[in-house]
Amino acid sequence: MAHLVLDRLTKRYADTAAVDQISLAIAPGEFVSLLGPSGCGKTTTLQMIAGFVEPTGGAVTLDGRDLLGVPAAKRGLGVVFQNYALFPHLTVAENVAFGLDMRKVPHAESRQRVDDVLALVGLVGMAGRYPVQMSGGQQQRVALARALVVRPALLLLDEPLSNLDAKLREEMQIELRRIQRATGITTLMVTHDQAEALALSDRVVVMQAGRIEQDAAPHEAYEHPASGFVCDFLGKANLFTVEGVDDARMAIGPLRIAVPESLASHARAGARVLVRPEKIAFGPPGEDHLSAVVKSRVFQGNHWLYQLDTPLGGVLVIRQNDGGLRPDEGEAVHLCWRAQDMRAVP
């Protein structure tokens, strides 16, 4: 039973389509991310659902009820904005109570609900502060509390963590997931940060140029990208082109690799295959091992990022910092990977 349904939702500006016939169904309690580069139409989609942008065509329904005919103020959705958009002239408690005031909730109940939601987001004792007196992370929590307190049918998050520094962002990701689970609220998040989308969502919807490229669970989308764009956008990717198939072996440059079962229907001349950098290891020379020279080696704490020159062009390799081999820049190495780690790219 779908909760929020977008049916061929479209927004055109002059003759370019910012959002091109997007259809999407979200189940109650689900956390879905719209992921894509800037200009892919994800924010426009969110704004059409929130009622800030008038769609050119299509429909949006919430529990079967048409949403597009309802003015933004009457949609009863919770929206968290990229820059939080707190009311600077109101205290934290007044900010959070704003939606309750608009709904004419009695004073005593309003106070109780504000207290409860501030406890939920971890802002006990901050009710009397003004937004300028708070850190970015705290403002983010206020914005979330303000959206949640009205018990919206749907929570819309517009790049909610993009203004936070890296450490705080990770913390808030965990917080956001905890709060979403605790309230069970259906959530649609817009983000350009693939790590954020993979970490938080039940489902990732990758968008490009106003269209949906893939709609899948995070691990599924990462392991089995539906297009070249998705495999490049979600994580890092090495793409190789199959030059020909002969005797159940694929020719990729100098390599002759036995066609794995998963690629049986895909392997033919001109097909592209994906190998994730963390799936490639350094090994001894061999027929299906790729000779390479280390071009650069970057230490990133828990892993090393290698750029290598190979007969197939540049290849990225990520190795855990686990005490294994770590060849120097300029060193000649051999790369190997398991055949089943190769993915077909449509």
Binding site: A72, A73, R75, V79, F81, Q82, A85, A147
Partner: protein, 287 residues
């Protein structure tokens, strides 16, 4: 090294010199004159006396003038604050070609000579003027605008409203459009967004514009002189008459000094109030 350190002083010297020569010195002279004695046949006499101030404070005639001046200034300030705020909000929402055009129209009164503009109002206000003819068409009895408070108030509001518009406009520019959307998403209709979000956030602009309007309205000369005439005196026209008609410079000077003091007090008090009220909310006046 030394010349480097002195450079700011050299650079600001011309402005300071002009300021001293054309503002501080004449003001000082006025203040001095206000403490001197006036002889009808002998003119200004040297010496120190508080007689002029005693005369102003002791005479109901001057109390009436002061009362009228600040009453007019208050009404004009209130009218400008209300009209100017709404003008700025409407202007801020207009699309671009219209925005520029209407901003020009709002600022227009400042581009016209005060005398020309006021005489224009005098033409409109006359008993057979356009305004009263219009009222007659609507079946309303003619209103006495000329030589009456109402005429002065309308004409002053017209010319001073741009000061509120400009300062409210600046406040509105600083409001994040997402804040308005946030209010809408929380269920606020147009009126609630205006009342609970836009106007409170524009309040520093409304107040600072109002202070300017009050100071200018209280010390206005040309408009009360032409519309109000000789009968309806305000402090500025009363001081002018003392200086140029009665030639009693010391009395005129004491009126001018008192007007200045009241203006400074009002300005300071409202600045203090604004700082106290908004310092916690707006970081250094901007967000």
């Amino acid at each position: 090294m030394r010349s480097r350190r002195l450079a700011p002083y050299w650079l600001s010297a011309p402005a300071l010199l002009v300021y001293a020569a054309f503002l501080v010195v004449p003001m000082g002279a006025i203040a001095l004159i206000s403490f001197q004695h006036f002889e009808f046949y002998g003119g200004i006499q040297p010496g120190f006396t508080l007689k002029n101030y005693a005369e102003v404070f002791g005479d109901g005639y001057y109390w009436e003038i002061f009362g009228r001046t600040f009453w007019i200034a208050l009404v004009v300030t209130a009218a400008c604050a209300i009209l100017g705020t709404f003008e700025a909000i409407v202007l801020n929402r207009m699309e671009n070609p219209w925005k520029g055009l209407f901003l020009m129209i709002v600022l227009g009164p400042l581009l016209i000579s005060v005398v020309v503009r006021t005489l224009g109002w005098a033409l409109l206000f006359g008993s057979t003027g356009l305004v009263n003819k219009g009222l007659a068409l609507l079946g309303i009895d003619p209103v006495q605008f000329m030589y009456a408070n109402i005429g002065v108030i309308v004409a002053l509001t017209h010319v001073l409203v741009p000061f509120v518009v400009i300062s409210v406009w600046a406040s509105l520019q600083r409001i994040d459009p997402a804040v308005e959307r946030a209010a809408v998403s929380l269920g606020a209709g147009r009126a609630a967004v205006l009342r609970r979000v836009i106007v409170p956030l524009a309040m520093p602009g409304i107040l600072s514009g109002s202070v300017i309007v009050f100071a200018l309205a209280a010390s206005a000369f040309a408009t009360p002189a032409i519309i109000g005439g000789r009968r309806l005196k305000v402090i500025a026209t009363a001081a002018y008459d003392e200086f140029l008609n009665t030639l009693n410079w010391p009395l005129g000077a004491s009126l001018a000094v008192l007007l200045l003091i009241v203006n400074i007090v009002v300005l300071q008090a409202s600045n203090r109030m604004m700082e106290r009220r908004y310092k916690a909310v707006f970081n250094e006046g901007g967000t």
